[in-house]
Subunit: 254 residues, 2 copies
């Protein structure tokens, strides 16, 4: 009985490509767990009424696709529960997982008219939906919101640029160490313990995220375990025994 984190709920039997789910009226920002993390935080509490009016709630089953690469980009999203992957494919099937998205993350920082990635739910997810147009109008009326979006877009840019170093110059073990630290940090922000990492995604997802094969990912896990830096509570639930050594491996900035 491996009790996975309550933040990232357990993966349901994955239907290959389920429907993205229905849009429902929004329940209200007040009780929202991610209120303080998300883009919405830029708006003073008094103005959340407007946000709520524009927002819809969307639930997506594990395994289902939220939005497909190439489709017209009509909506933007804030994730309130669960985890998704940002995927891009090459014609010959090579795959990149450009990132994992969790509660508080925003989908919609793009200048493109069409989605440039496919977004697939790894666990059951709940999201706040906004029509792109509505969000743009909200931004026009509330410069603080736009400023907040700019700040968060810059933060994401910083993070993405760090990934460049990972992919360009780090060894497999170093990449994995950095990945584990990154996931731990983000989950900690959501209230999890600092040294426990929950990995709802498959080894394949991790491989395609780190530019490796699943075998190399697996061997790198084994190496970190043998060296006493991590411990497996389950294949997808890991304890970081020596975060400092992991940080040293990953090149500190992580």
């Amino acid at each position: 009985m491996t009790s996975r984190s309550s933040l990232l709920q357990a993966e349901a039997p994955s239907r290959p490509t389920g429907s993205p789910g229905r849009r429902q009226p929004h329940a209200g920002c007040e009780g929202c767990l991610t209120r303080s993390l998300a883009v919405c935080a830029a708006l003073p509490p008094a103005d959340t009424v407007e946000l709520e009016a524009a927002a819809g709630e969307l639930r997506v089953q594990a395994g289902a696709t939220l939005a497909r690469e190439g489709a017209v980009r009509r909506d933007v999203y804030t994730i309130t529960r669960g985890m998704l992957r940002r995927v891009r494919l090459l014609p010959d099937g090579r795959r990149l997982v450009a990132g994992f998205l969790m509660a508080g993350d925003f989908i919609g920082f793009s200048g493109a008219s069409h989605y440039r990635h496919t977004f697939e739910a790894i666990t059951d997810c709940t999201l706040c939906v906004f029509a792109l147009q509505d969000m743009q109008q909200l931004c026009r009326r509330h410069p603080e919101l736009e400023a907040g979006m700019l700040r968060q877009a810059c933060a994401e840019l910083d993070a993405t640029r760090s990934s460049l170093m990972t992919l360009a110059r780090l060894t497999p073990v170093e990449r994995l160490a950095g990945f584990l630290l990154d996931m731990a940090m983000r989950q900690q922000r959501l209230g999890a313990s600092a040294d426990r990492v929950d990995l709802p995604m498959t080894r394949n997802d991790i491989a395609d995220h780190l530019g490796l094969t699943i075998e190399t990912v697996s061997r790198s896990f084994t190496r970190l375990k043998q060296d006493g830096m991590i411990e497996f509570d389950a294949p997808r639930l890991i304890t970081l025994l020596q975060p400092a050594r992991l940080r040293a491996l990953a090149g500190s900035p992580a």
Copy 2:
């Protein structure tokens, strides 16, 4: 006598680490060649007076460092002439060139209080300098400017995410093909011909940008030449003979 492009002027005898140059009063936005490209374009012509008041002009010699990783981030820049590289180093000397910056590009989309990269001039450069504070105030007074910054930050995010695919999943030849197309496209926006690419940076810079070694970069160049896709006018001046085939190699999006 290799007459390099007039857009990216020839590399001067590189002083190892010259001084970043002096800040001068600004010459005015009216005649600025990059006016239509840069962040500033978001501001209506009537308001450029304010921009000019806040801006300074800065010249940086080839080989000199504009800003150092870890230093306090006091200024932001728009490049009006020349080319710089965005560099990050690992403790053991491994290097990443996170990007090449040219006329119209903006340095300053970051949420960090300190520079996260070192910026080094590849050719002699001219830049518009703004104190970070001034720019933030300008944004507060002119929401259009902030909206423009957000748009451009998103565009840069899109571009950076594309680099992830390059580094994670493309072969050396594919990476180089994509790189050449990217440089050609950006130089075309500045008025150069579509099939001529000027590469002021060294093979080492290219290697550290593509996550390869200089030998592999060199061999990949040779391969593209042997296959008839490119032609060398000089080691750093290349003609794209078959852009379509290059695009196919790079995975089209480029």
